[in-house]
């Protein structure tokens, strides 16, 4: 009983700021001083995209997250497949390398990338942010897929080979469908990591602005209620996608 109460209290603590964010998206307040409740309005939802620079930042975030999740999923899935199934020379080092990218603080990853970019005079922008996000997400995808591959029965593929299926056919018809849940989970993780990222993006973005960067920048002048509204919509979308993917996993 105490345990249940405690767990719910902890969940309440975790979700409290989310609720605050959602509530202030319906607040009929001066957009520069959105800290006190002044009555309910849908004004900010009706004028969601009234700030072109904020909209631009959100679109940048979505585009970066889509591209980097796609690239990280492909690269990470292939690597996870090799690490989970094959024993080869260098496998240990590859595992350590993946672990290092996961364990290294983002601040250090960002600083290292920035050092490289200033040394080589690489112009920073969309491309460098994608490069950074793929680098971070790749390891998470590889680990997720590796776990899935480790749990597979190798007999299924051997049977396909005995029945005369070539390597590509085996991959397409047997391996890929079996590891797909791992790859999908990895892709969702990569997307979430990218769209939420602040530190790494700050170091690699140059003058490109993403949603978290824009929000942080607006802190000095007052965060407009549109940010709360957009944040609430993103939260709802995230919960929905996660629920749907959990449901399809249970169905399969």
């Amino acid at each position: 009983m105490i345990g249940r109460l405690y767990t719910w209290a902890l969940v309440g603590w975790l979700l409290l700021p989310v609720a605050v964010m959602a509530v202030f998206g319906f607040n009929d307040a001066d957009p520069r001083r959105n800290v006190r409740w002044d009555g309910f309005t849908l004004h900010w939802y009706a004028h969601l995209l009234d700030r072109p620079d904020l909209t631009r930042a959100l679109l940048n975030s979505l585009a970066i997250a889509l591209v980097s999740a796609a690239v990280a999923t492909v690269l990470g899935t292939l690597a996870g497949l090799a690490l989970g199934r094959h024993r080869f020379r260098g496998r240990g080092s590859a595992n350590v390398l993946v672990l290092m990218t996961i364990a290294c603080p983002e601040l250090v990853l960002g600083a290292a990338l920035l050092s490289l970019f200033v040394t080589l005079n690489v112009p920073r922008g969309f491309g460098t942010v994608v490069a950074a996000h793929v680098m971070v997400a790749l390891g998470f995808v590889a680990v997720t897929v590796r776990a899935r591959v480790g749990a597979l029965d190798p007999a299924v593929e051997e049977a396909a080979r005995d029945l005369g299926a070539g390597p590509w056919t085996r991959f397409r018809l047997i391996t890929l469908p079996l590891i797909a849940p791992g790859a999908v989970a990895g892709a969702l993780l990569a997307f979430t990591l990218s769209i939420d990222d602040f530190v790494l993006t700050g170091f690699t973005a140059g003058s490109t602005v993403t949603f978290p960067l824009w929000v942080y920048g607006s802190l000095r002048t007052g965060v407009p209620p549109q940010v709360n509204a957009l944040g609430t919509l993103l939260f709802a979308a995230g919960v929905l996608v996660a629920a749907l993917s959990a449901r399809s996993r249970r169905a399969s």
Binding site: P17, N34, A82, A112, P167
Partner: protein, 288 residues
């Protein structure tokens, strides 16, 4: 048949890891090497930087920012302890009493991650302002002194860190506890262990690998974080991340910034290795 499938079979793992390996080489290993090289250079943005193997960059960094680094580690440690204390009971309850709804509770615990970390931290700021929705009513009712504040204190930074990274502690601890299962503690009870004894001598040691993973997963990013210190803390709560960022972007002092980043990485690595050693890494990783 056998020959045709075996030859590509042996090379296959290399082709599979090659793209990821190249990406990590280009955007992880090479940048680290570049930062190492930059950290030993001298010069400035106007005249350009030059490799002089100036180890003094590291000493300068420690001399000036040693206290800030110490504070970051202290805040990281305090927040890690707070995380562990808050997370363990919840993970325990979900693992042993969550029943069929375990996944649902875990989902609730990670769901705040669908809102940007920056936005959630800012929401805490809105919530905790001096006359805000939490403190305002308490002050009006005379329960709190009018001068009482939460924002701009080190407590706010530590609590904010623990808040933001809590799921990274709950999940590994939960996984370890779920693996313990119900049978072992029940067997201990059958052998006349008290509830407390069964917990302290069976469940707690078996869940140690999860706590270890959780500590590493929270301590490292929390010590390097600067968003919480900048949003929730005061001028005396600056963490090392803010310094590194300012050295890069405000002062263009690239060598100093690189040296500081490396120092931070080395200190965190040593802390984790030392912790692993003290904890008994082999036992923790669950290897025989």
């Amino acid at each position: 048949m056998a020959r045709r499938s075996r030859t590509p079979g042996r090379a296959a793992p290399y082709w599979l890891v090659l793209p990821a390996g190249l990406w990590l080489a280009a955007f992880f290993l090479v940048p680290l090497a570049s930062m190492a090289s930059l950290s030993l250079q001298s010069g400035d943005l106007v005249d350009g930087f030059e490799q002089t193997f100036r180890w003094q960059n590291y000493r300068d960094g420690l001399d000036v920012y040693g206290p800030v680094l110490g504070r970051s580690l202290g805040y990281g440690l305090a927040a890690t302890l707070l995380c562990a204390l808050l997370a363990y009971p919840a993970a325990y309850w979900i693992a042993f009493h969550g029943g069929r709804r375990r996944q649902w509770y875990l989902f609730l615990i990670v769901s705040p991650y669908f809102v940007s970390f920056v936005l959630r931290t800012i929401a805490w700021r809105q919530l905790l302002t001096d006359e805000g929705p939490l403190l305002g009513p308490l002050k009006d009712a005379g329960l709190l002194d009018a001068g009482f504040r939460v924002l701009d204190t080190s407590g706010a930074v530590i609590a904010g860190l623990a808040y933001n990274f809590l799921p990274f502690m709950v999940l590994p601890v939960y996984v370890a506890l779920a693996r313990v299962g119900r049978e072992l503690p029940e067997a201990a009870r059958d052998l006349y262990a008290s509830r407390t004894q069964a917990f302290l001598r069976v469940v707690l040691p078996l869940s140690a690998p999860g706590v270890f993973a959780g500590v590493v997963l929270t301590f490292v990013p929390m010590s390097a974080d600067y968003v919480n210190a900048e949003v929730l803390g005061g001028p005396g709560d600056t963490m090392i991340g803010s310094v590194v960022r300012a050295e890069y972007f405000d002062n263009s002092a690239y060598p100093a910034a690189s040296a500081l980043s490396f120092t931070l990485m080395a200190v965190l690595l040593l802390a984790v290795l030392g912790y692993a050693r003290a904890f008994g890494a082999r036992r923790v990783l669950g290897e025989p």
